[in-house]
């Protein structure tokens, strides 16, 4: 990224950025109008009604409780109220858009750790403090932290979300302009908080494919998750093939995002949070019909490992297999390209 010495307005490089900027412009106009109005009135009154010995302005005793005063009070209560409701509704509608990643989003996983961002692509590629994304694709980040609260902020995309330990948070965007933009950690996280920065590279489709093709040599996330699954011995109890039941532990095939009935009769959705909790706190929500026999894996699996395991479980549910939304299955098994993927490709348009 080329350092710039001066800037007045941030780059706008995502689909939402234009909407946020319009809203901002509206707020600035309203604020400027009222600030200038008040400033003008204050200066004007201070001059017009300046103290002059012996001169008492007519109406000097009007205390605002006359009929005219009441009308004024109502006017300057109702107009700001009306304006502020517009502000609220406009802002809320943008926020709702930001809350709901489109169904066709491509998933990328972020793990915050003091003081670095670890990025894991579905196809297996990993990055640190860099994030390569294709242009004009909806991208959904699933994020968690290994220690304290961080916040994954990309000002050029006008988006940010806190990254918390012990749970997953989500943020999505659609990059619209190739280039390199700042990633900041926006939630104070300790000594080198200001060093927890990175760069997001928006590549056009072809450059992104090229970059992805360098791969990690470690297989896709789901494949790595499967390896971990086997290594931890999860498969000894949990069947992962359709229609395979053993009575010890629930079959994982097809459970992702489906309802499971729990021992106490309530139901829950087997989303990322539930899977995570069931690995770390297996006794918290036991599926109906199974015994409390699973040991906790708390402390045995890193946050990144957990993401891979979840990705593996998701891959067992074909209808939501997010691989379908990836542009194409990347070639990741080329041993010769093992570590090459770590080196960022210079984005198009940058020398």
């Amino acid at each position: 990224m080329e350092p710039r010495s001066f800037q007045l307005f941030p780059d706008a490089a995502s689909s939402i950025a234009g909407q946020v900027d319009s809203l901002y412009a509206f707020f600035v106009l309203v604020s400027a109008f009222f600030s200038l109005l008040i400033a003008f009135l204050v200066i004007f009154f201070a001059y017009k009604f300046r103290f002059r010995p012996g001169i008492i302005p007519a109406g000097n005793t009007d205390d605002g409780h006359s009929v005219g005063g009441m009308i004024l009070e109502i006017v300057w209560s109702v107009i700001p109220l009306g304006l502020s409701m517009i502000m609220f509704a406009w802002g809320a509608s943008i926020y709702f858009t930001e809350s709901r990643p489109p169904a066709d989003s491509m998933e990328i996983f972020i793990t915050g750790k003091r003081w670095m961002w670890k990025v894991q692509h579905m196809e297996g590629a990993r990055e640190i403090n860099e994030l390569h994304v294709p242009m004009n694709r909806n991208i959904k980040l699933t994020m968690t932290s290994e220690d304290v609260i961080h916040d994954f902020s990309i000002p050029a995309f006008r988006t940010k979300a806190d990254v918390l330990p012990g749970k997953y948070t989500t943020e999505w965007f659609q990059p619209t302009k190739p280039g390199a933009y700042h990633i900041f950690c926006a939630e104070y996280c300790g000594t080198k908080h200001s060093g927890m920065v990175g760069t997001v590279y928006v590549l056009n489709q072809q450059d992104y494919q090229d970059w992805l093709a360098r791969g990690s040599g470690e297989g896709s996330m789901a494949e790595q998750g499967q390896a971990l699954f086997n290594q931890l011995g999860c498969g000894n109890c949990h069947p992962s093939l359709v229609n395979n039941y053993n009575g010890r532990a629930p079959n994982l095939a097809g459970i992702y995002n489906n309802k499971v009935t729990l021992k106490d009769g309530t139901a829950t959705r087997a989303d990322e949070a539930y899977i995570r909790e069931s690995v770390l706190f297996p006794q918290a929500k036991i599926v109906a019909g199974y015994d409390d026999i699973m040991p906790t894996f708390s402390g045995l699996i890193s946050e990144e490992g957990m993401l891979k395991l979840i990705e593996y479980v998701k891959s067992l549910s074909p209808q939501v297999n997010s691989a379908e939304s990836a542009p194409s299955k990347p070639v990741t098994d080329a041993a010769a390209e093992q570590k090459a993927g770590r080196n960022p490709v210079n984005p198009a348009g940058k020398k």
């Binding site: 809350s99 709901r100 990643p101 806190d162 918390l164 749970k167 997953y168 948070t169 989500t170 989303d271």
Partner: protein
């Protein structure tokens, strides 16, 4: 205290008869043992409702009679009411976040 003279009657100390204290005390003891007993009976979700309702009744008895709010000034009642109202605000508004966390169906939203 010109504008308070109208309420002067409230300020006189009102001596509550002993009988009231004993009645309230009996009610409190009975309710304590009832609530302890009910907790051993399977009522499902009603267990919580009963336990909390009994606690609220007991607390009200103490506030109204042992603490003399029943005989107190409007201002005292207002202060007690405000305290409870704010407690409810704290609990309910914060809980609203927890109740609605799954509504959008996206982790962290």
């Amino acid at each position: 205290m010109a504008d308070h003279s109208a309420h002067a009657g409230h300020g006189e100390h009102h001596i509550v008869p002993k009988r009231v204290y004993f009645l309230v005390f009996t009610a409190l003891i009975v309710l304590t043992w009832v609530t302890a007993w009910v907790s051993t009976v399977e009522l499902g979700a009603l267990n919580t409702v009963v336990a909390l309702s009994i606690a609220i009744v007991k607390a009200s008895l103490v506030i109204l009679f042992f603490m003399h709010v029943f005989y107190g000034t409007r201002l005292t009642k207002l202060i007690v009411g405000a305290g409870l109202f704010w407690l409810i605000l704290l609990l309910f508004i914060a809980m609203f976040d927890y109740w609605t966390r799954t509504w959008v169906g996206v982790p962290g939203r």
